[in-house]
């Protein structure tokens, strides 16, 4: 963007000693504006060694912002300022040094760093059974809003069962105590970190600590503020109380993390409560006018201007009889002049009807790693290393860092870790675990035997030799109902994970958030009732999350928007044409 609009200039010159909310519509050039504003603030900053913190909600967003800042500043953003994810900030800046005051973790080997585990780990179970089985502390979290517990075990049916069941006081006590034991042993989940932070913020003994933190970061900029959870908002409120000024940037209409308990209503309330000054960005530079209009109409909000230089093409409606994959040839025909074409659906199940590109889980990951390692190309070898490292780290509940890949904190040299993984893979391949002609049952036997003698191998690193002991009793089972099927059936795709023959990309709405496409195809599911993936659920209530799903998905394309729906009845056709669609 060369020329800045007045709205954009207004934010770049916004005061940094006040709370400001930049209400940015889709396609407003928000990231660029934020980068420009941060660059200006940094260049005019006089309060060294205090600095500003720019927080986002994903590693890719952080990387994108860092790259833009390099362009403005000529070099990466340096001390005392930082760009990181919200979670990472809370963990390393707020909680890391003082967590033990809340968790009562005495420390291990001289360090008291919290080990963060995902819900794939399975330690510290409740003493009693809940809905038939005990639950691991890694698989549930406290919810500030409901004042209850939310379960995420990784199995959908179990989650539903647990979340719907009423929790007795006895069970509640058990859950709380299990968490406490979990924390006291030095473990925590990501959401636990938020709770620990909030608990710490309440402690009088830590007031001085947090006052210093507020002085250290007098200005915090939060991108995609609509994704803030109730716990995170509570933290914001507390920090505000200590004098920190916030700039929130986002679009409440693009809040789609209800499953993570983000509620735009809460954010709105906080904006009002703390007196945020609102600056709008109301021009959409991404899309043609008709797409922009449709999006505004979806939420029944005020219409805004689109990009006058993009030819305004009416959004199209394609109908399928039984399965959306019928429409692929037509989609390719309609979009063949465009480069970046993406097919978007609410969830993976709808997407699965298009291609076999679904993700691999559990023991399949191990098999995939072995096969890729024996394929001969260096790229696939590195992918295999990453897969195996992740599988191993999860299996052994090792705390890992992102880089490495997945290098355990205990190991200093990431190179040594990679070489160790490489040796493990060679060990497995030599034992025959890369033979795709084996059935899953045969393969599981070979892999299990080989993994069980892994701790005895000469190439094992001293730092983790103890951690590998659990492998001696490792159990590996073939995936459900695949026991007699050869590996090749499931694993014959290229590991490189690039779209192979198809020119189209397939993503979920959450994966495309923030992106810009040339053409987007939004796919509605066959039936209603599955997590708001049907178009009727999108149009039912403009204030609902369903509507916001459609809004986020439909505001991605520059030139062409297509909705793919099941064959319509006459009145349904009318509803959609009135909305602005043209039937194909």
């Amino acid at each position: 963007m060369i020329k800045l609009t007045d709205e954009q200039k207004a934010y770049i010159g916004a005061p940094i000693d006040q709370h400001v909310y930049l209400n940015a519509c889709p396609g407003s050039g928000k990231t660029e504006v934020v980068a420009a504003m941060v660059a200006k603030v940094v260049e005019e900053w006089t309060s060294f060694p205090s600095g500003i913190a720019v927080l986002t909600f994903s590693n890719s967003a952080t990387d994108e912002l860092k790259t833009r800042l390099v362009r403005y500043l000529g070099e990466p953003l340096a001390f005392p300022h930082l760009v990181s994810t919200f979670d990472s900030f809370v963990h390393s800046r707020m909680v890391a040094s003082i967590a033990s005051e809340v968790t009562e973790f005495p420390g291990k080997d001289g360090g008291n760093r919290i080990r963060i585990l995902e819900n794939k780990a399975d330690i510290f179970h409740t003493r009693k059974k809940i809905c038939g089985r005990s639950v691991s502390a890694c698989k549930y979290n406290y919810d500030l809003e409901t004042k209850g517990f939310t379960f995420s075990t990784g199995e959908r049916t179990r989650d539903k069962q647990l979340n719907d069941a009423p929790i007795t006081n006895v069970a509640r006590e058990d859950l709380i105590n299990t968490k406490k034991r979990f924390w006291a042993a030095g473990f925590a989940t990501y959401k636990d970190v938020d709770m620990i932070a909030l608990a710490a913020l309440q402690r009088p003994a830590l007031t001085g600590y947090f006052q210093r933190l507020a002085k250290r970061f007098p200005l915090i900029i939060v991108d995609e503020c609509q994704d803030l959870s109730a716990e995170q908002l509570a933290m914001v409120r507390k920090l505000h109380g200590l004098g920190v000024k916030f700039h929130f940037i986002g679009d409440l209409n693009q809040s789609i993390y209800g499953f993570r308990k983000s509620n735009p209503g809460n954010v709105k309330a906080l904006l009002a409560e703390l007196g945020f000054a609102e600056l709008p960005l109301t021009a959409n530079w991404r899309s043609g006018q008709s797409i922009v209009d449709l999006c505004s109409d979806l939420l029944r909000i005020k219409r805004i201007s689109g990009n006058p230089e993009i030819a305004s093409v009416k959004p199209l409606l394609l109908q399928y009889a039984k399965c959306p994959s019928e429409l692929i040839p037509k989609i390719i025909e309609l979009t063949n002049v465009y480069e970046e074409v993406v097919v978007v659906a609410r969830g993976h199940s709808t997407l699965q009807r298009f291609c076999r590109g679904d993700s691999f889980k559990g023991v399949e990951v191990l098999a995939l790693a072995c096969v890729a390692a024996s394929n001969g190309s260096n790229k696939e070898l590195n992918v295999a290393v990453a897969l195996f490292a992740e599988w191993l780290a999860d299996k052994l509940s090792l705390q890992v860092t992102r880089s490495g890949p997945h290098c355990p904190v205990a190991i200093e040299s990431k190179l040594a870790w990679r070489k160790f993984i490489h040796h493990c893979l060679k060990h497995l391949v030599n034992a025959g675990a890369a033979d795709t002609n084996l059935t899953w049952k045969e393969w599981a036997a070979v892999a299990k035997k080989t993994m069980r003698n892994l701790p005895d191998q000469a190439f094992v690193l001293d730092e983790i030799s103890g951690d590998l002991e659990p492998l001696r009793v490792l159990e590996l089972r073939s995936p459900a109902k695949q026991g007699d099927i050869a590996l090749s059936v499931r694993l014959n795709q290229a590991v490189a994970q690039q779209p192979v023959a198809d020119v189209l990309r397939y993503e979920t709405i959450h994966q495309v958030k923030g992106e810009t496409h040339d053409a987007t195809v939004v796919v509605s599911s066959l039936q209603k009732g599955i997590h708001l993936s049907h178009w009727k659920e999108w149009l039912a209530d403009p204030a609902s999350e369903g509507a916001r799903f459609a809004y986020v998905a439909s505001s991605r394309p520059r030139h062409m928007l297509i909705w793919a729906v099941k064959k319509l009845k006459a009145d349904e056709k009318e509803t959609l044409t009135r909305l602005g669609f043209e039937l194909v």
Partner: protein
């Protein structure tokens, strides 16, 4: 794995984006001063921590600044290295530098913003600046730089971090590690420790007495509370200190010699000390290649500027050939800059990269010049020390024989006379005359231009003019009475010109289309003949022949002298041709010979007396090689 490409921008003389392609093994950079050779080496050093000469720090003068009016210093420096041919282990180790590609990248950038004496710079691996660089990955590349003026003696001397100490520590790395873990001393430390004790305790060596005397003296002066204790021994008992105290001695030949006959390096020749220095570095590098020894490195880069410094040609040749072998066998990538034709002739043409800087630096690896394999082999054998001048001059004139090689420089003086002192000799223009010893233009000129349609390739951006003879047939058939044909001698002249049989003539057209190459052929017959056919040149040429005719009192010499008085410029071409043919006959005879004649001829020309007309084709070649544009002369025969 090896360093394949280096992209440089804004650094030193590289104002425009510059790229140089290396290959695995030995790379020899040739080019005149100011072409950018040192710049390239400095750029490589900037990327790595050099274990020998220390880290290179960016200073103000590293930012490129043009010489034109109102030029400002560059705002940033960008140096990017691309590594290729990674095997499995390399791919795992340098994963972050590869991203999703097969080749690894390492980038250095610096901004022209000074802060407390240092310039802001970043070093990152990979295709985009994502995560911070892991220094342990960078250390997997061992780079060693040897500057042009080396003080080998100081480097080899004993003392802290001496070469010997480093080599020994590298050799004993595993043993030292085990000893440290067990908490026990290394065998060497034990031995020296025992030796020290023996010296100190024994009464035979007076060391004990000396120590006691010093101690007593100190105690007397300072008393018991303030005094210190002393001990005399060979060195501290630590591996580092022991090996740092070791000294390298030499003996001038490989003949059997007693250890006591070896001498200290200060007595050694400068050149040989240099060789010892380089040998010790190679010892350390080759150690790293052997598994389980030395430190683990995935790529070893050896940068040597002017290895010819202090070395006699014989030693230069041996050293370079050895470096070439070591580079291949021990997978060390060696990059060398040189001004020496000895070195460039000792290596293969495939290993040479030519650097030039007319307005912007350009690097042309000779292996990319489109040389067909037979040509490449030919050049490798024929590119001896004198012909190597080809690569070091600002312009070159390629000739077929010794006669041309001797005479052309003098003819050039005549052609260039009009430009005045300082610009009237070939040396003034940096142009070399190179004797190919035959009609091998097809091979050598391929370096500067595409000689045929099939041999397309890069061109070394230096002007090259080839001079060749027309070589028409010696005899022609004419019809005689009786329907028969008779063979008569053919003397070319303006009224009777025929096609030449020289197969190099076929290339003239294609070479003429190129930017840097030109091939010129004589109009008539051969070098001396063509010169004789112009103006009154025969006067001087016949006199010279007469003066060197062995039998001075005989008829031939007298005849030649008489003929030399004729007014050749008034003659018609056919008549001159006859005299020219006779001159040629005399020159070619065993009494004189082309070489002797040329030498005498050149001497006469040197006197710069009298009128002399230089044939057009020779004139054009000289002007082309010197980079002078002049309109071609009209043919002025007769």
């Amino acid at each position: 794995m090896y360093l394949r490409t280096l992209d440089i921008h804004g650094f030193k003389c590289f104002g425009e984006p510059f790229t140089i392609e290396f290959h695995d093994g030995l790379n020899v950079l040739v080019g005149e001063n100011g072409a950018g050779k040192t710049g390239v080496i400095a750029a490589v050093r900037q990327l790595f921590n050099d274990s020998e000469s220390g880290k290179r720090l960016i200073n103000e003068r590293d930012f490129h600044r043009g010489f034109h009016e109102a030029a400002v210093a560059a705002q940033r420096i960008d140096i990017r290295a691309t590594f290729s041919d990674l095997d499995e282990n390399d791919a795992i180790a340098f994963r972050d530098w590869c991203g999703n590609e097969d080749e690894a990248k390492l980038t250095f950038t610096a901004l022209n913003l000074e802060s407390r004496g240092r310039f802001k710079s970043q070093l990152y691996g990979g295709y985009a600046r994502a995560t911070a660089l892991e220094t342990e990955t960078l250390d997997l590349i061992h780079c060693i730089y040897l500057p042009p003026l080396r003080d080998a003696e100081t480097k080899l001397r004993d003392g802290r971090q001496s070469r010997l100490a480093r080599l020994l520590k590298a050799l004993c790395r595993k043993e030292l590690d085990t000893a440290r873990k067990k908490g026990k001393p290394h065998p060497l430390e034990e031995r020296v420790g025992a030796f020290n004790q023996e010296l100190a305790a024994s009464d035979d060596y007076a060391i004990k007495q000396a120590n006691e005397r010093i101690g007593n003296s100190l105690r007397a002066a300072l008393g018991m509370h303030l005094s210190q204790n002393t001990h005399i021994q060979f060195s501290e008992v630590s591996f580092s200190r022991i090996v740092e105290g070791l000294r390298l001695l030499y003996f001038p030949s490989l003949a059997a010699a007693d250890a006591t006959q070896f001498r200290s390096l200060e007595e050694n020749s400068l050149g040989y000390n240099n060789l010892l220095y380089i040998a010790s570095i190679l010892a350390e590098l080759t150690l790293e290649v052997e598994e389980e020894r030395g430190e683990e490195t995935y790529l070893r880069l050896l940068l040597i500027e002017e290895p010819e410094a202090h070395l006699h040609p014989q030693l230069q040749i041996r050293l370079l050939k050895h470096l070439s072998t070591v580079a291949k066998e021990k997978s060390i990538q060696v990059i060398v800059t040189t001004h020496s034709t000895v070195i460039s002739s000792a290596v293969s043409v495939d290993e040479i990269i030519h650097l030039s800087n007319k307005c912007t630096p350009v690097a042309i690896p000779l292996r990319t010049c489109g040389l067909p394999e037979p040509s490449r082999k030919f050049i490798d054998r024929w590119l001896d020390v004198t012909k190597s001048n080809l690569l070091f001059s600002k312009g070159s004139i390629l000739v077929e024989g010794i006669a041309e090689a001797m005479v052309i420089p003098e003819l050039a003086r005549r052609v260039l006379a009009q430009y005045g002192d300082g610009e009237n000799t070939l040396e003034d223009y940096g142009v070399s005359v190179i004797n190919l010893g035959g009609i091998y233009f097809k091979h050598f000129m391929q370096l500067f231009c595409d000689v045929t349609d099939e041999s397309a390739g890069e061109n070394v951006p230096v002007r090259c003019a080839g001079l060749t003879d027309k070589d028409p047939p010696k005899t022609i058939k004419i019809d005689v009475d009786g329907g028969k044909q008779m063979a008569v001698e053919y003397t070319p002249n303006d009224d009777d010109l025929r096609d030449g049989e020289n197969h190099a003539l076929a290339y003239i057209a294609k070479i003429g289309e190129s930017q840097f190459g030109r091939l010129y052929a004589g109009k008539y017959k051969t070098f001396e003949y063509d010169i004789a056919m112009e103006g009154a040149n025969l006067q001087m040429m016949l006199s010279v022949a007469a003066d060197i005719w062995p039998a001075q009192a005989g008829t031939v010499a007298t005849e030649l002298r008489e003929k030399a008085k004729l007014t050749f410029d008034k003659m018609k071409s056919p008549e001159r041709a006859g005299h020219a043919a006779e001159l040629l006959y005399r020159i070619d005879s065993t009494s004189i010979g082309k070489g002797i004649y040329a030498q005498a001829f050149a001497e006469e020309l040197e006197k710069q007396e009298g009128e002399f007309v230089v044939p057009a084709y020779i004139r054009d070649a000289i002007l082309w090689a010197c980079g002078l544009e002049e309109p071609p002369l009209n043919d002025q025969a007769d």
